[in-house]
């Protein structure tokens, strides 16, 4: 070739024909000087290759064994990954033989046989290269892999448990946590979830999963926890110890909308925050708001648990008031994402309204929401009997008669009671112990209703939760224009369309319409 390029004259070279030395047929000369058929009949280049092999398959998790111990998942039938896996099992001698082509021959899936057709090239005698087809049959043996055997032998076998507890009289926190966990998928590794009184138990297969879950909860609630282990078994020869690990997690009892009287030391540390504060938000830190001075503070989980305190009054003790008169006092103040306006208000309890003349003149932070004639929920300190150690600690403390907490839509919502909502939430599948004493299903349901109503009213609470469009909702013919826009409801843009993978009707794709 180089000589031609350099311009030298190369005479034409036509290849002649010789006779094959065995059969005498005319052929162009090749290194073996035999025609292909004679060569093939004499030399079999696939001599050392195996024709039958066995592979092991786990029918539970659809994985194939790569000896000695690895199980490979995700090998679809007739895929190129499966082809590569089978070729590795055949142990082709790479030095002598070159693989040119490999493909599957179709077999019935239940026949437990895989057939491959390979084309190999190898050197036959005298340097002639021969190409030959080679069939291999692989037998598939079924065997459960180690993980599946363990799972099948004892499906309830757990080795770590996270026990979440909160010592309060309601389960609102756990409803909220349930939605958070669903949204972030923190409990996908849990083997079992069980309800206990005052909390939930999550069972995991390994300690690392449990630790990861505890870390997640640490990021969303102010907790303290401890970790203990119990020896289950012990292999003397290899010194391997099997434990059951228990994580006891306690969530702080302070919840949203609780009225708290801070202990004097803590009030001083927070800058003389008025001893009576409202808890506005609980994430992994507690947000406190002084309703009379509109000052706020944040308490870290560590700070809280160093000097834990209980709430003075919880949202169960909220009483309904009607606002008779309101006078805005100060301008709008933005604290932590929400706005408050200081106002003087004249309120009366609903129970007193119309029956007697008991009125209270109070200062409230809800000036931006309330108008005369509105209903509000608040704490009745006038008639409450406080048996709190911290209150007694404060000398010269004057308690206001009422502290309003939130606006109430009770009256209007009573008309809506029974109507379906446009949205719904999903639930974790928990094991509920229905036989234990002290369970009150009705109380549970009302609490859940209140939780859903809370979700409607508070956009910031909805932030971390996935809400789905309720397919069963039909807007009623009698359009509720009269109810108007007073009642907070969840706008349609916030709802996720639920991904429906069922085969009937047209599939509705889950477009994420998240805000």
């Amino acid at each position: 070739m180089e000589m031609e390029q350099s311009g030298m004259f190369m005479p034409a070279q036509t290849v002649g024909t010789v006779l094959c030395c065995i059969c005498g047929v005319a052929m162009p000369p090749n290194p073996a000087n035999m025609c292909v058929r004679c060569l093939r009949s004499r030399v079999d280049i696939t001599e050392g290759l195996i024709r039958h092999a066995a592979i092991v398959y786990c029918p539970e998790c659809h994985s194939y064994l790569q000896p000695p111990r690895t199980w490979i998942r995700g090998l679809e039938p007739e895929s190129k990954e499966l082809l590569a896996f089978c070729l590795r099992r055949l142990r082709l001698p790479q030095r002598r033989i070159r693989l040119v082509h490999a493909e599957f021959i179709w077999t019935e899936p239940h026949s437990k046989r895989l057939r491959l057709r390979l084309r190999v090239q190898a050197e036959a005698l005298h340097g002639a290269i021969l190409e030959q087809a080679h069939m291999v049959e692989l037998t598939v043996h079924d065997r459960l892999c180690d993980n599946c055997t363990r799972a099948q032998a004892n499906p309830d076998q757990w080795s770590a448990v996270v026990q979440l507890r909160q010592l309060v009289q309601h389960r609102r926190t756990f409803f909220y946590l349930e939605q958070l966990i669903l949204r972030h998928g923190a409990a996908v590794r849990a083997i079992r979830i069980a309800e206990a009184d005052h909390g939930l138990d999550f069972f995991f297969g390994s300690r690392s999963h449990a630790t990861k879950f505890v870390d997640f909860i640490n990021g969303v609630a102010p907790i303290r926890f401890r970790n203990d282990k119990q020896l289950v078994s012990h292999d003397v020869k290899s010194s391997v110890y099997n434990y059951k690990h228990t994580f006891s997690v306690e969530i702080s009892p302070v919840c949203r909308e609780d009225l708290i009287c801070l202990p004097p030391k803590l009030a001083n540390a927070l800058g003389n925050l008025g001893p009576l504060v409202l808890c506005t938000r609980v994430t992994n830190s507690i947000a406190l708001l002084d309703p009379l001075t509109l000052r706020s503070a944040f308490l870290d989980a560590n700070q809280y648990w160093r000097a834990p305190f209980k709430s003075l009054l919880t949202s169960r003790q909220l009483v309904e008031y009607i606002v008779l008169d309101i006078e805005v006092e100060s301008a709008e103040v933005h604290i932590g994402g929400s706005k408050y306006v200081m106002a003087h208000a004249q309120v009366a309890r609903i129970t007193d309204f119309g029956k007697n003349d008991t009125m209270f003149t109070i200062r409230t932070h809800l000036g931006h929401l309330l108008n005369p004639g509105d209903y509000a929920l608040g704490y009745d300190l006038y008639s409450a009997n406080n048996n709190d150690f911290d209150i007694d600690q404060h000398k010269n403390l004057v308690l206001p008669e009422t502290i309003l907490v939130k606006k109430s839509y009770q009256e209007k919502q009573s008309k809506k009671r029974g109507k379906a909502r446009t949205w719904k939430v999903k639930n974790l599948n928990m094991e509920v112990d229905t036989t234990s004493k002290g369970r009150n299903d009705e109380k549970r349901n009302t609490e859940y209703e209140e939780f859903l109503r809370d979700l409607e009213e508070n956009p910031e609470m909805r932030f971390n939760i996935s809400l789905y469009r309720n397919k069963e909702y039909q807007p009623s013919e009698a359009a509720s224009t009269a109810d108007g826009d007073d009642i907070p409801s969840i706008p349609l843009e916030e709802l996720l369309a639920d991904l429906d993978l069922s085969e009937d009707e047209g599939n509705q794709n889950g477009e994420n319409m998240d805000e």
Partner: protein, 245 residues
């Protein structure tokens, strides 16, 4: 007639023997069977001489000759030279030549009229060849190989060359040698023609691995089917007797 033969279980007959129209040289082997095959074919026609060259048995590849003469490499001992001079007919000139390429059988392929030589042969050697063997000398390659004496074998009637020779080369060689040539193999596909067989005008000896196809090709190209040794040798004898007188 082509005969299949083996030298001590080896099919490379052309290595261990040299056959011309006037004489035949065979190597000294352990058993007499090789010699006896040649004897049985050639005994009353031409002398069959057992010899060694330079103490080796690969005599077919070390010497080159035709009915006019025999050329030996410089490594031949005096005794061997003398033995050959004594055994061969008087008309055959036995000459020892000084040539760097001492395997003359691999470098020179000849019949009674034409010789093909290795392209790198000395000028004096070429002249000696022309003198001693009485041939016209051509420097050539065969299918790109310079060892012309190994890759082709030809007699006065025809010739067999390396199977990969192109058609143009075949035509060119055929014009030079003035004999029909064919590209083929011997000893079941071996390309080294001259070491696998040895041939003269009426007979040929091939290795025992030679297939029937190859044998038929050899017989057809060298025209061995109806060759009568006596007629050919009688012609030669006339010239021999002339010299006596």
């Amino acid at each position: 007639m082509a005969t299949r033969v083996q030298f001590e279980n080896n099919c490379e007959v052309g290595v261990f023997s040299k056959l011309t129209n006037a004489y035949c040289l065979v190597a000294i082997g352990g058993s007499e069977s090789f010699y006896s095959v040649f004897e049985s074919e050639l005994a009353d026609v031409i002398p069959v001489v057992k010899t060694s060259i330079a103490g080796t048995r690969i005599i077919g590849r070390l010497c080159a000759g035709n009915k006019n003469g025999l050329l030996l490499p410089h490594t031949t001992t005096d005794q061997e030279l003398q033995h050959l001079r004594n055994s061969l007919p008087d008309g055959v000139v036995v000459q020892r030549i000084d040539e760097r390429l001492s395997a003359l059988g691999n470098c020179i392929a000849c019949n009674d009229h034409v010789a093909l030589t290795h392209p790198d042969l000395d000028r004096e050697t070429e002249e000696l060849i022309a003198d001693v063997l009485g041939v016209e000398v051509f420097r050539q390659t065969i299918a790109g190989n310079i060892l012309v004496g190994s890759y082709c074998a030809f007699s006065n009637k025809g010739g067999l060359v390396h199977p990969h020779t192109s058609i143009e080369d075949l035509d060119e060689l055929s014009t030079l040698l003035q004999v029909p040539l064919v590209a083929g193999t011997v000893n079941r596909g071996s390309e080294v023609i001259a070491s696998g067989m040895t041939v003269n005008d009426w007979t040929a000896f091939c290795g025992s691995d030679t297939t029937a196809t190859e044998l038929s090709v050899i017989e057809s190209v060298f025209k061995l089917r109806d060759a009568q040794p006596n007629i050919i040798v009688d012609e030669m004898r006339k010239s021999l007797i002339d010299s006596y007188v």
